[in-house]
Amino acid sequence: MSGGNGLGTPSPTVDDRGTSWLDGSGQDHEIVLSTRVRLARNLQGYTFALRADADERRSVLDQVRHSLGASPDLDDGVLWEMSELEAVERRILHERHVVSRELIGPDEGPAPDGTALALGASGPCGVMINEEDHLRIQSLHNGMELEAAWRQVSELDEALGSRLPYAFHHEFGFLTCCPTNVGTGLRASVLVHLPGLVLTKEINKVLQGIAQVGLTYRGLYGEGSEVVGNFFQISNQTTLGKSETDLVDHLREIGVQVVEYEKRARAVLLREAPYVLEDKVWRAYGILRHARSLSFDEMMNLLSGVRLGLTLKLLRTPRVRTLNEIMIFAQSAHLERRAGRTLDEGDADVYRASLVRERLSSEGEATSSPSEPSPEADNSA
């Protein structure tokens, strides 16, 4: 176990931890950016973290720290107290989707005392400590990998539960700070890229359908965040009255259907408006490849176009993994660390454009796929 010893060592850096889920290895990874499963757990005999004072939070943290040895993966991993990380490092963790905004606290000033992140050695699993609940055990995978994520989280839960006195009620199940999480404490989500459904204006129908089957959708960063770059996070709405595997299976069934609808929408676009689509994709690539200033939202929309082009084989490069990495590494905290200083919005846009150009040019000039539609071969244009 490294980190968190507080023995006068310089503040730790988060280096490249928490990024393995960007690797483009999971099922349907071109459309499904990530799968996350998390379990909320609390300790009996303590007030929930939101209401607890610093001493009580520290006491919970100590208990959790001593229980990490029950999981070999966490034992070999790291434990970072948020208060020992520089603000920029905390924001980097948030940009990598491994901690929530609530855990890291405000951008300026100290982090909330007693909040911490334990991150497993193998990468995609970890525990947020003293967020809203004492433990948020989570697993993050590339692509549509609900079963793998659930299995990993469940194992971690059992390991930690063998050493920690979880708050459990015979009727209500695992007790959580917010009653919307009680019971299983499980929230499973898939982050899907749906430009086809947005362009064909079918998206509202799909989102309504999702609501009707007891699921909900959110933006890129979960609750309260906006939809950016045609990414939608679909997750279970309820946590009580159904088993964990039922909840996970249901989300997978619906998730697979949404991916199928998206593929169909793309096929329609390709058939009905091949040149409009091709033009959109190449313009997006061109701007990303040459722009000197890019806001985050503009970059996300353009990346969405390039990602669509890749899946439709209108472009052969860059790799999906590169697009994933750009999405994460071209956010403000990552850019600030790269620049070695804080950046105002205008500066960040310039640094962002520079990083995007660098990453795209490292993959060589994009070429059209041999199956590219041509005016001669297609009379519908």
């Binding site: 303590y46 469940s154 839960d157 209500f172 007790l175 019971g183 088993s243």
Partner: protein, 166 residues
């Protein structure tokens, strides 16, 4: 909307109750609600999670008669919960059980957990003695709370463990 009781003043308390799966809502002015033993929450609209916005005042279900008392363990009041949508500690679930049951049914469509069970931190250890001790403590607690369903479940677990011992 006028108060259903006095038919005069504006109804400010909208109380929804669910009994035997039948939902009933009464609309009362704060004065009549007070006489009915229901206190009105007149605070400004709270920044609740989206689900709470749709559940109106069901959180204030007064059926247990404990609503005015804060949680004895952490001091969270019914008003705190309504404002934040968050409970203060695990004991809040027992303390606000009456109000919560209706809320959980509306939010989740159920109040009964059917997923993983938690058998106590000793349950996973090889130390059967420690596991039995933990189960017996929980049985005592269940009996104390007159929670006979849980007690029966724990009794079964203890029996099966003791059977292995023999």
């Amino acid at each position: 909307m006028v108060c259903e009781r006095c038919q005069e003043r504006e109804a400010e308390v909208h109380l929804t109750t669910i009994e035997n799966d039948e939902m009933a809502t009464v609309h009362l002015c704060s004065s009549c609600a007070g006489q009915e033993g229901i206190s009105a929450f007149t605070s400004a609209p709270a920044p609740l999670a989206d689900f709470l916005a749709t559940i109106g005042t069901s959180v204030e279900d007064a059926s247990e008669g404990t609503m005015s008392e804060p949680c004895p363990y952490c001091g969270t009041s019914s008003g705190d919960f309504r404002r934040s949508g968050r409970l203060g500690c695990p004991e809040c679930y027992a303390h606000f059980e009456g109000q919560l049951r209706g809320l959980l049914r509306r939010v989740h469509g159920s109040t009964q957990h059917v997923g993983k069970l938690y058998l106590g931190e000793a349950a996973e250890s090889d130390d059967r003695f420690a596991k039995l001790r933990s189960l017996r403590l929980r049985l005592d607690r269940a009996v104390e709370l007159e929670d006979f369903e849980a007690a029966a479940e724990l009794r079964d677990q203890i029996d099966s463990l003791e059977a292995v011992e023999r």
